[in-house]
Amino acid sequence: MRPVTPPHQALAPTPWRSRSLNLSGLAGAFAILAVLCLLSVSIGTRTTSLSEIVAGLSGSNETIAEAAVSLRVPRTLLAVLAGAALGVAGCVMQGVTRNPLADPGILGVNTGAALAVVIGIAWFGMSDPQDFLWSGIVGAGLTAVFVYTIGSLGRDGATPLKLALAGTATAITFSSLVVAIILPRADIAGGIQSWQIGGVGGATLSRTLSILPVLGAGFAISLLSARKLNLLALGEDMATGLGERVAVARLTAAAGAILLCGAATAVCGPIAFVGLVVPHVCRLLAGVDYRWLLPFSALGGAGLLVAADILGRIVARPAEIDVGIVTALIGAPFFIWIVRARRVRAL
């Protein structure tokens, strides 16, 4: 067999975007994330000083400030994890569908997870977060397959518009079903409704830690698919020609993304637009190589969600705006910008 140029060399980073530059970019992103986390722990209805943070982190909650810190830590941790998960899931989905508008929210996957969780709560009396987790993942997976199937029927496959429409239609149906399920049940309506908007406010350490194994698996699968995503980006024919089994590659990568966004949704509720915005911004910073893009998206998603959470706490002080609302308000204009910029057919 004739040696082929490995695709990652075909996609070799341009000289000015060297490995060391990317590494320092990652380090910078990490530093920004660390600062954001610190801010997230210190800012809120009550602002705390550094010494109080240190005391709170070391387990003391004697003063109000220290107690506030011990509440904010799991919340920040959850925002970091969920943001990273959504950023990576969006990045993988954009790679798998080669669709710049792909996002777990727009494709209706988050709503699918939400519907599954609501069904579990209402009909099967679920109350254990671990059960939320699994039903969320199952719902996300089924919805992803469903939406992708509908969106890709027909001659020219899954165009951005068809996928977005299929996702919107599915999301509307599922939210109608969610309303249909919870309306007769006044007992559970309030709790579900605030969960449905998407927030990290009620985070507890044990719930946050309970999704770690699933998230870990999702991150691992996604990062291992980076090379396959690079191949897919060359087009289906090219990828097949280079010896990649396209269907298998798509399925594994998508499985990783589904684990990530299903788990994130199960704990935080559906949070839209993080998965859309982050990969696009990261592409500007890190180029198109998924081996760099995925870690960047993880850090970027975490940073965005933590920042959105802080913003939601500052803007309406002393009340809070749920992070899902903040990300939608930031993300929707971005979505419109992509649509207007005619980059819809690219990727």
Binding site: R155, F273, L329
Partner: protein, 319 residues
């Protein structure tokens, strides 16, 4: 035929329910007579509900199909491209945030609907062509407005919330006859205006150049159509909430029934009314729990949207 269908649906909703009232009694009550035991049911419970359903359905059906024809795309109905969300957001804010009621809410909803329509149009149009970009921009705008609605609702007092979800999914629960008045007025003014423009609308369907060649003042009639359609939709939304998918479904269903010839405006308006009446009846009496009409139309309508996407994909026509 559609008129007959609408009439019989209205008769069914007036006579049937928790208790049966014979049609002769219903007629006597409507003409001002007294029938012991039935007057209250029909006059206070059922009649306002039926009237409101019909008016809202007429408005949604007419406004929806006007958009679909003008933009030459069945997906460009106000509930998909975010105009209904704009009206809802304004109405929710007025009702929950400012504790307003009555015509002020309707006026705010109309203004917001118009603003959103202009925003979407302005963002999507390039060189006079909007096409698919309009729909995608609309989806984005609509997502943003939905999150605003959620925010307002979450900050509403808890006792208000259940009611607000009900309203948000579109409902004619607790209808009163005086609510129907603004709806009726708007529908008479703007609905007739729209119907009188049906010939111009038909020429717009052929494309702007063709319409201009046929003597239609394109931009002026477009403005008239947008203002009228948004007004009736927004007022109906302010009264009943955004009843999902009626605006979107009425046009295509009417096209199936009457065929491609002739104007679709009146037929789809009637189809809208039948849809709301039937869905509300089903939501009240045919399902295990009582559901607001919007949940029924939402669950019914989305499969049709999916079907439309599949069918368009099959035929290979670019959407």
């Amino acid at each position: 035929m559609l008129l007959a269908l609408l009439l019989s649906a209205a008769v069914v909703t007036l006579t049937l329910g928790r208790s049966y009232v014979p049609i002769t009694d219903v007629l006597r009550i409507l003409l001002g007579g007294e029938v012991p035991g039935a007057t209250f049911t029909v006059e206070v419970l059922r009649l306002p509900r039926t009237v409101l359903s019909i008016l809202a359905g007429l408005s949604f059906g007419l406004g929806g199909v006007a958009f679909q024809i003008m933009l030459r795309n069945p997906l460009a109905s106000p509930d998909i491209i975010g105009i209904s969300s704009g009206a809802s957001a304004a109405a929710v804010f007025a009702i929950v945030g400012l504790s307003l009621t009555g015509p002020v809410v309707s006026i705010l909803a109309v203004l917001a609907g118009l603003a959103v329509a202009m925003l979407i149009y302005g963002l999507a149009v390039r060189n006079g062509e909007a096409g698919t970009r309009l729909i995608l921009v609309g989806i984005g705008v609509s997502a943003m407005l939905q999150s605003l609605i959620s925010y307002v609702l979450l900050n509403a007092p808890a006792w208000n919330r259940q009611e607000a979800i009900r309203w948000l999914s579109g409902s004619v629960n607790g209808a009163r006859l005086d609510e129907a008045l603004p709806l009726l007025t708007t529908f008479i003014v703007f609905g007739l205006l729209l119907l009188s423009r049906s010939r111009e609308l038909e020429t717009l369907r052929l494309g702007d150049d063709m319409a201009a060649a046929l003597g239609t003042p394109v931009s002026r009639s477009r403005i008239v159509i947008i203002i009228s359609a948004v007004s009736i939709i927004a007022v109906a939304t302010a009264v009943t909430g955004p009843i999902a998918f009626v605006a979107f479904l009425a046009g295509p269903i009417a096209a199936h029934i009457v065929g491609a010839n002739g104007s679709l405006l009146l037929p789809s308006s009637l189809v809208g009314a039948v849809l709301v009446l039937v869905a509300d009846f089903a939501g009240q009496f045919l399902l295990p729990a009582r559901y607001p009409v919007g949940v029924v139309t939402g669950v019914l309508g989305a499969p049709y949207l999916i079907y439309l996407i599949i069918r368009v994909n099959r035929t290979g026509r670019a959407l």
